[in-house]
């Protein structure tokens, strides 16, 4: 298992993968959204999942977090099968799904308190962590605002707070940086980097190659429901100067836009 590059002093972790997909399959009607996906996320890694729209990223991550039942295959979080041993798996993971609702008439602090208590945490611990999370994510100014009145970026941040609250060992984040302003994105980036430095593991999906390149030590490229490439960032990038170019090459896509439209701005 590879270690986080550039970070020393990370305690030796057991070699059990933080997240492991084996032979994962999901079909919707006649369409195969996820087609025998095998993937290993080493513990302590910052793992980027990239792929074109509709490649199966969200479907894969939903199956990893217990929100979508696979048709075949298994998902394990630190060795615990998400579908056979859900409680143990759910204890270890924090989830940020893309575009899902929250109890939106509650304030940020109320949602965090609700979730902490729902997880059986002590009230004092919940209150102290909620206060810290709200402050770090700069949501404490909106103390008395219900989530229904939050901006998209604020929603993303409060959902991230719900994922962090119970101190998980693995974070599964679906498009955490989408529709987020640069300042908030920098905040989230710093928090995630601290989390990985502290021994945590992060899996996140994204369209933005530059971001993945900057943050991740591991990356997997998913297209048409299959893993086209996976491994350490340098290995996946290969001889291409950027991940962007490697991605286009791996996916076999052809950047369109050159034909037709002769009337446009002529």
């Amino acid at each position: 298992m590879s270690r986080v590059p550039g970070v020393s002093g990370v305690p030796a972790l057991p070699a059990v993968p933080a997240l492991e997909f084996s032979g994962l399959v999901k079909r919707f009607g006649g369409q195969t959204a996820v087609d025998h996906v095998d993937l290993v996320v080493p513990p302590g890694s910052f793992f980027g999942l990239v792929g074109p729209n509709g490649a199966g990223k969200t479907t894969s991550l939903s199956m990893a977090t217990g929100l979508l039942r696979p048709d075949a295959g298994a998902v394990r979080i630190f060795g615990h099968d998400v579908w056979a041993d859900p409680v143990a798996a759910k204890e270890l993971v924090g989830v940020l799904p893309d575009g899902m609702a929250l109890p939106d008439r509650l304030t940020g602090r109320e949602v965090l308190t609700y979730l902490g208590l729902l997880r059986g945490m002590a009230r004092e611990v919940v209150e102290q962590r909620a206060a810290e999370l709200l402050a770090v994510l700069e949501l404490d100014a909106a103390e008395s605002t219900a989530i229904v009145d939050y901006s998209t970026g604020m929603r993303k941040k409060i959902t991230l707070a719900t994922a962090l609250l119970h101190g998980p060992r693995l974070l599964v984040l679906d498009e955490p940086f989408e529709a987020i302003d640069p300042v908030s994105a920098a905040t989230i980036r710093t928090i995630l980097q601290r989390f990985v430095r502290g021994g945590g593991s992060v899996v996140f999906s994204s369209h933005v190659m530059a971001l993945v390149e900057q943050l991740c030590d591991h990356v997997a490229v998913i297209a048409r429901g299959r893993v086209e490439a996976a491994g350490a960032l340098d290995d996946v990038r290969g001889e291409h100067p950027t991940l962007d170019e490697a991605f286009v090459h791996i996916v076999g896509a052809r950047a369109g836009g050159a034909e037709g439209l002769s009337w446009l701005a002529s």
């Binding site: 217990g66 729902l118 059986g120 002590a122």
Partner: protein, 519 residues
């Protein structure tokens, strides 16, 4: 451009109608046709008091025009020609305004409204050709007013409706209309009697003084031979229509330049929620957390609080209005009616919360706490007020025979409803529409539950109450109360166990039903 818009609307309607809701549409057609037919019949009926017919027709016209104005507001916006489609097109607002107004005349509802308003022609024809002719003009003006007022109403209310907070306003409006419709069975006979026996000149003055009554007023004047007086209300209608047509383009321009979320209003509407000490009453456990969250949702979510308001208004007002017209035997059941409606309205708890279910599914061991917490919260919200209403209204009506009936019914529905609300919520999840409003499917379910909940809850106590009442055995009637408590408690427990088991076993499949809004 009118032609383009009409073609676009027809295409969207055809696409929407493909393969679904055919029975719902047919049912709606039958209901509207029956309403239009009965309105028309009001023009043919015989009235003992002079002018009473015009009062009745004026009242019915008010109902129809209200439907025209409230209809599009209730459905959230014009579902076919959304104003937002035209925001970016370089069309002058005045041209667009007139085109939209023209397109709105291509509406099949006009046929039904014509039938309904034609009651005025029939009413006038009984007094001669001249009054009938005035009736024809009045009908045409009423139809034009209906289309113009409806178009302008969407323009005025549109921006708030498409904002998240603005829908709250729309929900309140929907609630008021539903309440009025529910009360109609009690109110309409009451009003009809007042109007036909001519005992309330104030009421008659009000219904004829409103623009919806001007047409009927003109017909009555013509029937009485005052042709000149008949022209005045008709001229009033023309003036009103002209005024609405004039204000429509600037209103549309304002609407098109407002942001979709109505941001200028949003800040002033934002409510500040401050942590209250009362939450300390709840235990710091998973169950306490869910109860606290649910109670906050009941008090802050407009969808929820409005449903509670409907239940309260319909429950209390129905029994009180019936009591005012002389029969107090309904009073003891006002509380029961409130609890039944409150139960039926909240049989879609998970569907209404939509994709927020992911929080429960990703939290270990959360299912039982979630189900039980929702049960407690509903019981706290519906049980004590229902019992209080039952006791107060029964005592106020002096209906001592009704005590075992009212108390056992209330106990059975309050406890049984605690089981059934959450059970039905898990068994059938109907997500809200994309704009956060209830879908027809959800409303059908709530209406079915309006019947199913009291039947399921009240059968065992009724099995004792009926023979008790028929044989005059008081003690038998009173045994219905403990039986109702026991049966309700059983339903409560069964609902809890079944719902928890299903949520635990089928969580992801249920989540798939609500992860996206209904289309």
């Amino acid at each position: 451009m009118v032609g383009v818009l009409i073609g676009m609307r027809a295409l969207i309607l055809r696409k929407n109608a493909q393969g679904k809701r055919i029975w719902g549409t047919l049912a709606l057609l039958v209901v509207v046709l029956a309403l239009a037919g009965s309105t028309f019949a009001a023009g043919l009926a015989h009235y003992a008091q002079p002018g009473a017919g015009a009062d009745v027709l004026a009242t019915l016209s008010f109902g129809w025009l209200l439907g025209w104005v409230a209809g599009p507001v209730m459905t959230g916006d014009d579902a076919t020609l959304r104003l937002d489609y035209f925001k970016l097109l370089p069309i002058p607002p005045r041209k667009l305004a007139h085109a939209m107004l023209g397109a709105n005349f291509a509406n099949v509802s006009l046929v039904f409204s014509f039938l309904a308003f034609a009651g005025m022609i029939a009413y006038g024809a009984r007094s001669g050709a001249q009054a009938a002719l005035v009736g024809v003009v009045a009908v045409l003006l009423n139809l034009v007013l209906a289309v113009v007022a409806s178009t302008v109403a969407v323009g005025v209310l549109g921006p708030t409706i498409s904002s998240r907070r603005g829908r709250d306003f729309s929900s309140v409006l929907v609630a008021l209309v539903i309440t009025l419709l529910s009360l109609a069975s009690a109110v309409v006979p009451f009003l009809a009697r007042k109007l036909t026996d001519g005992s309330s000149p104030v009421l008659a003055g009000v219904v004829r003084g409103l623009p919806s009554g001007w047409g009927a007023d003109a017909v009555q004047s013509a029937a009485d031979g005052h042709t000149a007086t008949a022209l005045l209300p008709l001229a009033g209608l023309v003036a009103l229509i002209a005024a609405l047509v004039l204000v429509w383009p600037p209103l549309l321009a304002r609407r098109l330049t407002l942001s979709g979320r109505g941001s200028s209003r949003r800040t002033s509407r934002q409510k500040a929620y401050v942590a209250v000490g009362a939450r300390r009453l709840l235990p710091s456990t998973p169950l306490g957390a869910v109860i606290g969250k649910e109670l906050r949702m009941y008090s802050r979510s407009v969808l929820r609080s409005v449903q509670l308001m409907i239940a309260l208004l319909v429950g209390v007002l129905t029994s009180v209005i019936v009591a005012l017209s002389g029969s107090t035997s309904g009073l003891p059941f006002g509380g029961l009616l409130f609890t039944v409606i409150a139960a039926a309205c909240f049989t879609n708890l998970y569907g209404d919360d939509g994709s927020a279910l992911w929080l429960t599914l990703t939290t270990p061991h959360a299912e039982r706490a979630d189900v039980t917490g929702r049960q407690w919260a509903w019981f706290l919200v519906a049980g004590p007020p229902g019992l209080l209403l039952t006791v107060l209204l029964t005592a106020a009506g002096g209906q001592n025979w009704a005590w075992p009936w009212a108390l056992s019914g209330e106990a059975a529905v309050a406890l049984g409803g605690t089981g059934l609300t959450v059970l039905v919520s898990v068994l059938s999840m109907q997500p809200l529409s994309a704009d956060g409003g209830p879908t027809p499917g959800r409303q059908v379910k709530a209406h079915l539950m309006l019947v199913a909940v009291p039947v399921l809850c009240c059968l065992p106590p009724l099995a004792l109450l009926l023979p008790g009442a028929l044989t005059g055995t008081t003690w038998l009637e009173w045994t219905a109360v403990p039986v109702a408590l026991a049966w309700g408690a059983l339903l409560c427990r069964l609902g809890n166990r079944t719902a928890t088991r299903r949520l635990t076993a089928r969580g992801p499949e249920l989540f798939a039903l609500v992860r996206r809004p209904a289309s």
